[in-house]
């Protein structure tokens, strides 16, 4: 597994993957994700785009993608607790939006590439 920009987090994910699956090379059966860092028992969850405290808007995400989305939110300094100050609140909403669209964009690129490979 390649080290991300946060090797401590990668180390934690590897440790968890090995502890939960006995191997670093666990494969998600449904989405085909071979990255074991976020593979957990298959379940679909509601992912609160802006954290539950700020807004009720949700999208469905598997545990893997859910964890990834929360990592990205954390990297973007979007805390799970809501802010009282309106400007800070708005900043968090915009950042969370950006994270959401970045993940979507990556998924779109990946789907497009897959389709090209099939040709």
């Amino acid at each position: 597994m390649a080290l991300s920009h946060n090797p401590a987090r990668t180390a934690r994910q590897m440790t968890e993957a090995i502890e939960e699956h006995g191997t670093e090379q666990a494969v998600c059966l449904y989405c085909g994700n071979t990255d074991p860092r976020r593979v957990r028992p298959r379940r679909i969850q509601n992912h609160h785009l802006f954290s539950e405290e700020r807004d009720e808007a949700t999208v469905l995400a598997c545990l893997n993608c859910h964890a990834g989305a929360h990592d990205a939110l954390q990297d973007a300094e979007v805390a799970m607790s809501s802010e009282k100050e309106p400007t800070k609140f708005a900043r968090a909403i915009f950042r969370a939006f950006a994270v959401h669209f970045e993940i979507l964009a990556k998924a779109c690129w990946r789907f497009a590439k897959k389709m090209e490979e099939k040709k």
Binding site: N6, P7, A11, R12, Q74, E77, A79
Partner: protein, 644 residues
């Protein structure tokens, strides 16, 4: 004078934690040295508060045999002035960075969340030198912990300043003068608890102490273990400057070098003990006993009734320490016993007892009475005779010179142990060597009511040879461990580190291990009943607030006998001095300081008192006109005397 005697006791807890099988709750055994380590240090202000200024960390990965840095970073106090933050962000070292073009710079809260907790959950070693100080510097809140230490909060919810219940607290409790125990408290969500159990904290100060029995500064430890780089010469200013950051980075690099050096040293020992659990030389000693396959005596000899342990505990006293002459300078010759407790172990055959398949308690009342009637000082210089001394007795003291725990001075009100001529209407328990020591000092043959011997049978299964520090083979089945360790130490005088380790190993396994009792605070709502055994006294009561939890090799039958043997050796020296019409200044456990001039002859007292005075003063007689007025009836009655 009438005194209350204070006796130690053996305690059995009914329905306490020690009777629960918690093996199911324990996580899988992790690697001795995990794959990752977080080495870090903090720099603080120099005022009384010592607030965090900034810190440096290195995230390291184990590559082959050493931890290698894969990321380095800085963090700063959340409310550090912006100018100081700019200084940190603008920092560019001359030698460049380990990875990339810049250091990872985070606020304290971001460091805790993105690095510290991630490392804890990754099972990485959290490494520091005097780690508890650094943890307290990055804490945002604290409370006093039940076990006498502190509980530190590292994470709070950002806006509300509420403690984050999804992150554990770090509980730090002192274990001894050097080591602390680090624990993570439970988190709110049950599913997350397992992940936090991976947290492993290692204070290199403690590890260096466990390996050497010395308390080093960082620079001292680096010097002792020859690690590189050395600590930078710099006096901290409490400010945030480029030089201060360079110094902090160098400190962390030096700490990493020391970690690797200690790891190499630790790996010489063929023991399964995790380094973060090595709190003292005794931890290493116990790990060696386990490596030789020695089973924990309380489990192996479970058929020994608790009453017998109660008799041993009632007869247990620590090393003898007293001052006999004071307030006058006088010439002395110190006499020191080589490896006293290992020697006593070898003489009393403690290894045979420890490695026996089973032991039995056999009545020996007549045998002991006959032995006491015939024993002489010369007999005690025959090593084989000592094998007869592994017994306990119940006697009626009639002026026997015995160790007594009592409150001697009304001012302090604390208990002390003194060697006294004791009279008692109630019988007391005494270990064999103490009884013989009394006999050679007082000449009085004790009135023995009852006596029993400890008899070993066979050798336990599963004993296996090991190599001490990877160099010296020892076979626990056919060799006396204590004798061999003392002999190997003598043979390896040229190898400083090895012979010093052998000394530490011999001392750490020879006595304290068998009487290890750790204070433990008991939850007031869950106080079980306990049975208390002390000599002939047995009673039940509720557990008090604090209970002494036995260590894994706790076995008072051995421990009380060993310290008793140490006091017999001192008594032998005292008797020899007395027979030569001399006296001693003081004694402490394994050493006695004899009053004697360099060239022999009488030692004159500074107040001009002419010799000769009385040859020997009984323990009751007043020894000093000063002390007789200050300390009536105390055991430290002193004398003006003289010596050849």
């Amino acid at each position: 004078m009438i005194h209350d005697l204070y006796l130690r006791a053996h305690v059995v807890v009914h329905g306490g934690n020690d009777e629960k099988d918690d093996s199911a709750r324990r996580p899988r055994s992790p690697k001795v040295w995990p794959d990752y380590a977080l080495v870090w240090d903090t720099e603080t202000t120099l005022d009384l508060q010592q607030r965090l200024n900034f810190g440096v960390w290195r995230f390291c990965q184990l590559q082959e045999r050493e931890y290698v840095t894969i990321q380095e970073g800085l963090f700063y106090r959340d409310d550090l002035p912006s100018s100081d933050i700019e200084t940190i962000r603008a920092y560019k070292p001359k030698g460049g960075f380990i990875q990339g073009d810049e250091l990872e710079v985070l606020s304290r809260s971001a460091f805790v969340e993105r690095v510290f907790w991630e490392c804890v959950r990754a099972g990485a070693l959290i490494v520091g030198y005097n780690l508890s100080f650094d943890i307290s510097r990055i804490a945002v809140d604290w409370t006093a912990a039940r076990n006498g230490g502190f509980s530190f909060v590292l994470s709070q919810l950002s806006e509300r300043k509420l403690n984050n219940v999804h992150r554990p607290r770090i509980r730090i409790a002192p274990l001894n003068g050097v080591a602390e125990q680090f624990e993570l408290t439970a988190v709110r969500r049950k599913n997350d608890k397992q992940r936090w159990r991976r947290g492993r904290f290692i204070d290199l100060h403690t590890l260096a102490f466990a390996l050497t029995d010395d308390s080093y500064s960082l620079a001292g430890a680096i010097n002792a273990f020859g690690s590189r780089p050395e600590k930078m010469e710099h006096e901290p200013t409490g400010c945030v400057t480029e030089k201060e950051i360079t110094y902090a980075r160098q400190d962390v690099e030096a700490t990493l070098g020391l970690l690797n050096a200690l790891k190499h040293e630790y790996e010489l020992h063929p023991i399964a003990l995790r380094p973060d659990k090595a709190y003292s030389p005794a931890s290493i000693g116990k790990a060696y006993l386990r490596a030789m396959g020695i089973k924990e005596p309380m489990q192996k000899f479970a058929d020994i009734p608790p009453k017998i342990h109660g008799i041993a505990m009632a007869a247990y006293f620590g090393g003898r320490a007293e001052c006999r002459n004071r307030r006058w300078p006088m010439p002395v010759v110190p006499v020191d016993l080589t490896s006293e407790y290992p020697t006593v172990d070898a003489l009393l055959g403690i290894w045979d007892l420890l490695t026996a398949e089973r032991i039995t308690i056999e009545d020996a009342t007549e045998d002991i009475r006959a032995l006491l009637a015939a024993v002489t000082l010369d007999d005690l210089f025959e090593p084989a005779f000592w094998k007869k001394l592994n017994f306990y007795t119940r006697i009626l003291p009639e002026g026997d010179v015995l160790p007594v725990r009592s409150v001697y001075g009304s001012k302090s009100g604390t208990c002390n142990i003194g060697l006294n001529e004791l009279y008692s209407k109630q019988p007391i328990s005494v270990a064999g060597p103490d009884l013989v020591a009394s006999l050679i000092l007082s000449g009085h043959i004790p009135i023995v009511q009852e006596a029993f011997r400890i008899v070993p049978h066979g050798k336990q299964a599963g004993l296996q040879p090991t190599k001490l520090r990877g160099a010296i083979s020892i076979d626990p089945t056919n060799e006396d461990f204590f004798t061999r360790v003392i002999e190997y130490r003598k043979q390896n005088k040229a190898n400083d580190r090895l012979q010093y380790f052998l000394k530490i190993l011999a001392n750490s396994t020879s006595y304290g291990t068998y009487l290890e009792l750790n204070p433990l605070k008991v939850d007031a709502s869950k106080r079980p009943r306990i049975s208390v055994y002390s000599g002939e006294h047995i009673f039940e009561q509720l557990v008090p607030e604090t209970i002494e939890q036995p260590g894994s090799f706790y076995f008072p039958l051995l421990g009380a006998l060993i310290t008793s043997g140490g006091r017999l050796l001192l008594a032998m020296i005292e008797r020899c001095v007395r027979d030569a019409t001399g006296t001693y200044l003081c004694c402490d456990t394994d050493a006695l300081t004899i009053v004697a001039s360099k060239d022999g002859g009488w030692v004159e007292l500074p107040d001009g008192t002419p010799p000769p005075l009385k040859h020997f003063h009984g323990r009751k007689s007043t020894r000093s006109h000063i002390d007789s007025t200050l300390f009536l009836h105390t055991i430290t009655k002193l004398c003006r005397t003289f010596y050849a």
